[in-house]
Symmetry: D2
Subunit: 308 residues, 4 copies
């Protein structure tokens, strides 16, 4: 068996050129920065990676570049997000020739499903996959919450190896951690909420999948190492600093969802010189004007940009 993937596993952004094509050099630089920051793994093609906007060809291209650039230095998880089971399995099939440590799978969406269908879905995907399956609990996108008991049962049955919790429900996460522990910890638990990772560690998280980790991977790594060392004052201080940095996502006006959040991450990375543009997938438009200045000021406050 492989070592469980714990620690900091940022959901990798996907840089685009001004024309909306995949910007391979920017993606390579972004990956390199994550590795230099000391991340424990990378999660390509998550929600922050704009997977919802990508066709099969672009998904393949992203994974090709990422696995090539990472070159086995850390494990790479791949999002295989699609509406229902068969398409998810197709994405798994398309990716299985690559060096991937696991697939990240949401509950089915668009068509409504109940507990029975969700159970069947995860079991079918796992049966078809050549690498471990992570459940991606993201009700804001799929509009269903995975229950702790359900997740732990799928873990005990060997269907799931871990959970990326982006549910925004810390009470449920605590329960999941307890139920999982009582079941012998079949699941690795990662939180997706970048401003409350400290509390998640106390609750039993094994690590995080912080979108903001694209902007400051080293900060999340420092927090993780402090948590492992039991140095909670450092954990808290680092989290407070990162929470202040997260304010970049509230600067855009008239934008919702990833157009604001991922858009702010991309704008920050452009200002930091890591990627070339802050272009977003259609139908989103990039952040412009005063919001860019405010993002620069926040980056400077966080010690990431010399001046603002």
């Amino acid at each position: 068996m492989t070592t469980p993937l714990t620690g900091v596993v940022p959901p990798l952004l996907t840089p685009l050129t001004a024309d909306g094509d995949l910007d391979v050099p920017s993606l390579e630089r972004l990956v390199a920065r994550h590795l230099e920051g000391g991340v424990d793994g990378l999660f390509a093609l998550g929600s922050s990676g704009e997977i919802a906007f990508f066709d099969d060809a672009r998904r393949a291209a992203v994974l090709e570049v990422v696995t090539g650039t990472v070159a086995g230095q850390v494990p790479v998880l791949a999002g295989v997000i699609d509406m229902q089971t068969d398409r998810v399995i197709q994405h798994v099939r398309a990716a299985e020739r690559l060096d991937l440590a696991g697939y990240v799978v949401t509950a089915p969406f668009y068509a409504i499903t109940g507990p029975q269908e969700i159970d069947t879905h995860f079991r079918a995907v796992a049966a078809a996959a050549d690498a471990p399956i992570w459940a991606y609990d993201i009700p804001v996108c799929v509009h269903v919450k995975l229950s702790p008991a359900e997740l732990a049962a799928l873990g005990s049955d060997g269907v799931l190896t871990g959970v990326k919790d982006s549910s925004g429900d810390d009470v449920s996460f605590r329960r999941l951690a307890a139920i999982n522990r009582a079941a012998g910890s079949p699941l690795t638990l990662l939180t997706g909420h970048e401003v409350v990772v400290d509390g998640a560690y106390l609750a039993g998280a094994d690590g995080s999948v912080p979108g903001l980790g694209n902007v400051d991977p080293a900060g999340y790594v420092r927090m993780d190492r402090a948590a492992r060392a039991g140095d909670w004052e450092t954990v808290r201080a680092e989290q407070d600093r990162l929470a202040a940095l997260f304010e970049i996502v509230f600067q855009p006006e008239g934008k919702a969802g990833p157009a604001a959040g991922v858009g702010a991450f991309k704008t920050a990375l452009r200002e930091l010189g890591v990627i070339s543009t802050n272009t977003m997938s259609t139908p989103m438009s990039p952040i412009e004007g005063g919001a860019v200045d405010r993002i620069r000021a926040i980056l400077a406050d966080a010690g990431l940009l010399a001046d603002a």
Copy 2:
């Protein structure tokens, strides 16, 4: 310009074999029955057509069979449902060699979008399409409601030719009808709610897209003709009969969404001898046991099945 598509345009179910493959003979029989029933058009690959579960190959196969069987006797609309703009445009491209009267497009989903992104989305798809675009207002699946003002504006700008309203919001539908009328009726308005089509006609609907129309197309056609003739007592009586028939969707237990609703339609059509199985796409399971008997009894009450 072509005549607007009004009247009864059922969202065509997609029959599957017991193994889950496309059941072409059943699909041909189902199409034939619709045409015999007198429908004014067909909408392939809608939510009731299980589009969320289908990959590109199956989508293409369904459209091939449907347009081939219909052979120009009535207009065929095709659902091009996917998460975000670029994939929707790909589905349009894949379908454009076929004889289609229009494409049916939802708001973007999975990734959250706001009014600006939704506007850009519809405009981008329309610009890329060779046939008219219908907006599919279905918040239960995409979790956003299209506003009447927004829809009417897109109609006036020539972006949209019509709306399939499955919003469940009859107050909003009335407003849409009024705003559209005030704008010179750029939009054709079809309701997707099969048990309240009579009220929708009074409110200003030009027709319906009734999932239940797969089970009783002739009933919906009779209601439509009566509405055009101003014979409202017949409209109401037919709608009451069809609403009683709709009770089939409440018979399954432990099933949610299309596993219950579309599953009931398929079960009814199997019992009526139109299609061969009531198989549903993974991860849904077919309706079995007592629910089948109850569905037979309802079909008999509605005069569609000799005995039950």
Copy 3:
């Protein structure tokens, strides 16, 4: 037994003075106008009557004035809206010396309750009341939807005499009408959605509780009489006219809920000279500025105001 209360039963607004006191002369004029308009009953202290904002003393004062002014000419229903069962029963007790034809009761709210608690709630209130109980299905306020089966069961058991449906769910209303009919019509069904009353009549409504009926009671009465006569073209035309009038509620900016809707009704009635002010209960502020002009213009278009 008494005749069931059917037809037009507007939810009576509660006029206030500029200082926020109950404006008795305005209330008397408003009641008189309803009676002149030919309404079949009045519903005092509903959501449109600002009941949520009133203490026990004001509730009592309103009922006193209304029953006194109506003086038995039409039945009067009283809202007894409060968070949970015991307080609702207190409101019933406080009102029972007045000449009331029934009490209107919502599901419990604030504290979450399930089906069992809701059933107990309605049974307890009915057991304590000296007049028939109407269920008020208003999920936008209480955040729970009453199921058709549940309502019909309470009707068959003699707990409920009717339903005021403000659920915005016309599909559910059709089912309720059918289930009620199959049970021998124990319930009288009134719709609260003023712009789709025509469709509700087709679906089986026995009448309406239109907030907009405060502004144009005669219009709703004409529509009701036409529906009873089977003159659906008149029904539809009247409803279209009233739906256009309803646009007054969309004129205020920066206001939500009753501050916009009831505020628009009050503003219209002030402009029509029926009530003296458009004052709203704290914390709401009255409609001012351009919205007043736009409301006047809509009143003129509807033929209610000589000029605008």
Copy 4:
């Protein structure tokens, strides 16, 4: 100025007799147990105190007993929960002769309100009150979320002295803590989520209002003292123990909301010999059967009950 109220401030349950009357001796014993447990304050008439079910007389009786029993040993906050502003102010007036350290006020509910109305509401209540106002952010009951910026602004203006956060939104809580700190910490921040208090302390909470603190006040006090001492391993271990104890709320079947949660707390306290019955307010029924046994077993596991 008084010292800010920080630390452990449990929302006091309200024991009832088997007949549903206020059980004064049980309430006195419960208060005494809290004081022995070392709590820093008590919050009477919160959601857990069944305030939604109580009329004015019972509210007064509860406050009388609580302030009398506490007799100034710790500060007492009183919930003044009602639908809209004027009734809330009435509850303040009714309580002002008692020795209260503050009033706890929710956003308006039942009638929909927007940001403007919510702002007016808090300002009007504060202007009318003789003691500090705490905002009670509880969207599960009032169906609106108070924004961090709004709360901090009300704090800076001297309208609010603190926030009881029962929003279940830890991301928003972290933002609130940061915005409040940046504004000079006008607000005292207490979390209402009893299973994630440890994370809330890291995020910047000044204390907690744990419903479960009725069952184990000493546990929450130990956690609080450990947090103040920076002994995070003890904090976490205590929180894990308390989270395991919280499983009592998941034992009842067929119950929702306080019938399950508060019902479980009352059942536990009855089994612990603190209160005499587990009677709940109408329309709720008490927990019976196997759930009681399971609750006893959990109490035993938590070291609170000798045997189970």
